[in-house]
């Protein structure tokens, strides 16, 4: 098991190297630099700025410098927010106000929304297979999978904030401001999880051991909760990890739509501002998150299903 964990964790290295190389190369290819203005800066000031941020060095040297700083958890200075580092932009202000913290809060609540709605919906659908309840649940989950989150967010704002006036339109902080963005971000996951739970539940309740459990006189509730659910949820765990990362990365649209001061907001502005280090910082952050999630899922999967370890050695 330990060997498996170590081997999976080592996988982090080539992935992050690759991500950093691709991101760095892309940023170097971008037309226009962080100091390109409509009114050009005097050449001397420009040269000074470039020297300050080591932009006058050859690209490979800049890359190595970036990598070296990265190893020290230093994401470098922001080109846009003068005098601030990326670390400051992303983590400044501390819990719970910092940009990364806000994004994490939103993401976590959305995960709970997704699990809390998706799993029960999937179970009900499976138990009532081919009834109108099942069809209704599956129709809604198909809808949830299909609506892009920024569109859903705008629809929800229109209905609940503009028309009904029940909830605030935007920003982050008070409990009432949390409701719409978390539902927006969680819906897609809830829908996917509902579909998956249903499919794997249907598969499980046809197994012999479920029949045995019923035959020995267990109540239906105990059969479902005690025997079926545990095994039915294994495939669900595998998708939750990567999905979580996907929601986190997708959350920049939700943050954009609801004007939430998270990393996502910085990601969008950094793209238009050509703030190289901030773009790289956000992408690296998301990539690390994604890879770590995948590794955690693999490990938890190996715990849940001993057969996996057998194959992977």
């Amino acid at each position: 098991m330990l060997k498996f964990i170590i081997r999976r964790s080592l996988w982090l290295i080539p992935v992050l190297l690759m991500v950093s190389i691709v991101t760095f190369t892309a940023m170097k290819l971008v037309p226009g630099g962080p100091f390109t203005r409509e009114k050009p800066l005097p050449p001397k000031i420009r040269a000074n700025l470039e020297a300050k941020y080591h932009l006058d060095e050859p690209a490979w040297k800049q890359y190595l410098r970036y990598l070296w700083n990265l190893l020290h958890f230093d994401l470098g200075p922001s080109y846009k927010y003068y005098g601030r580092t990326i670390n400051d932009v992303m983590f400044g202000g501390g819990w719970p106000k910092c940009a990364a913290c806000v994004s994490a809060q939103l993401g976590l609540i959305a995960v709970f929304v997704a699990l809390g709605i998706g799993i029960p919906l999937g179970i009900i659908s499976a138990l009532k297979q081919n009834t109108w309840i099942d069809y209704l649940c599956m129709f809604f989950s198909m809808l949830g999978v299909s609506i892009p989150n920024f569109v859903l967010g705008l629809f929800l704002i229109w209905i609940f904030a503009v028309r009904l006036g029940w909830l605030p339109v935007a920003r982050w902080g008070s409990p009432s401001q949390v409701v719409l963005p978390s539902i927006t971000l969680g819906t897609h996951g809830a829908a996917l999880i509902a579909r998956l739970t249903r499919a794997s539940m249907l598969e499980v309740i046809r197994q012999d051991y479920i029949r045995t459990a019923r035959a020995k006189g267990l109540r239906e509730r105990a059969v479902i909760v005690g025997h079926a659910l545990k095994n039915a949820l294994i495939p669900v765990t595998t998708v939750v990890g990567p999905l979580m990362a996907a929601w986190m990365t997708g959350s920049f649209l939700v943050e954009h739509v609801f004007a939430i001061p998270g990393i996502g907001k910085f990601f969008i502005t950094s793209v238009t501002d050509r703030d190289y280090t901030l773009i790289m910082g956000t992408i690296m952050f998301y990539a690390v998150f994604l890879v770590v999630m995948n590794i955690l899922v693999d490990i938890s999967y190996a715990f849940l299903d001993p057969r996996i370890r057998l194959y992977e050695g």
């Binding site: 198909m142 892009p148 569109v151 238009t272 990539a287």
Partner: protein, 301 residues
């Protein structure tokens, strides 16, 4: 297991009693019975027709401005209202379908061509080549897809061609994995062994034996991949990296309209509905195709 065995033997019995039909005919019959999938297919065809015939079916041109009637809610002349320049929203949605449909077609084709080539080389030859090729895909897979496309778009600048490049750079990986998996399992089968024995060249084996037998899963994956493509384009256009104005795309229309949602909600709601319904239709169609082409999955998923 006994239940399943009985079901299988019953299915075989029914199978023997049926007149023989080809695999595709059979799949089509199954698909035709799936109401939601057929509804999806109908909607997809409708949107595709609207896109192709846009110059003739749209009541107005997408550029036609009418400043006196700007920001008007839906009315008889403009069934979905007008935007800030007085352009007809309904007509712009029809023209915008061209973008979504093109993205769906071109994106799928790119994914197919690159993914198929990559996956078949990897899957057919196996061994060390396969190992290296798949490790590369694994590494690329760890990249946050949408951010990667955005990164590419930042480098290349907005524009439909660049959207294709961005989507193409990412979309092939899933297909490559799928094709490789299919080929790996198929090439051990006796009929492939037999073909190899009588001296069929690798390209022949791939084209005549492996590919036709993988067609079902490939079609399903392509269909289910389309909503992702449409989503990507709309996201890019929404954040201003996609199709540049004045040519409309659904995402771009939302991006122009959403800040005025209080006064002019129709500018957001109609394009939003267009994206959602188109994706919904493809999802239903893809789901139906999967059930139709993969009889083993029937009743389970």
């Amino acid at each position: 297991m006994a239940v399943r065995e009985r079901a299988v033997s019953r299915a075989l019995e029914l199978e023997l009693r049926r007149p023989s039909v080809s695999l595709w005919r059979d799949a089509w019959n199954r698909l035709a019975k799936n109401k939601m999938a057929m509804l999806g297919l109908a909607f997809v065809i409708l949107v595709a027709l609207a896109a192709v015939l846009a110059p003739w079916v749209a009541p107005y041109h997408y550029k036609d401005t009418d400043f006196k009637n700007a920001r008007k809610p839906p009315s008889r002349e403009h069934i979905m209202g007008t935007d800030k320049l007085g352009r007809d929203v309904f007509s712009r949605i029809i023209w915008g379908a061209q973008v979504s449909v093109t993205v769906a077609v071109v994106g799928s084709l790119t994914a197919l061509v690159i993914g198929l080539t990559y996956g078949s080389i990897s899957g057919y030859f196996g061994g060390r080549i396969d190992n290296y090729m798949m490790r590369f895909v694994d590494v690329m897979y760890a990249f946050p897809t949408l951010l990667f496309i955005i990164l590419i778009m930042v480098v290349l600048g907005p524009g439909l061609i660049n959207v294709f490049i961005g989507i193409g750079a990412v979309g092939w990986m899933r297909m490559a994995r799928l094709v490789r998996g299919q080929f790996l399992s198929l090439k051990e089968k006796e009929f492939v062994e037999a073909a190899r024995m009588v001296g069929v060249k690798p390209i022949g084996i791939i084209a005549r034996h492996l590919l036709p037998n993988s067609l079902g899963p490939i079609i399903v994956a392509l269909t289910l991949g389309v909503p992702g493509l449409i989503l990507t384009e709309s996201v890019l256009s929404f954040i201003g990296l996609g199709v540049p104005p004045p040519f409309p795309s659904w995402g771009q229309m939302i991006s122009e309209g959403w800040r005025g949602m209080k006064a002019t909600p129709h500018l957001t709601i109609f394009p939003g509905l267009a994206i959602s319904l188109f994706m919904l239709a493809f999802n239903f169609l893809g789901d139906g195709l999967r059930d139709a082409l993969d009889p083993m999955m029937r009743g389970v998923s």
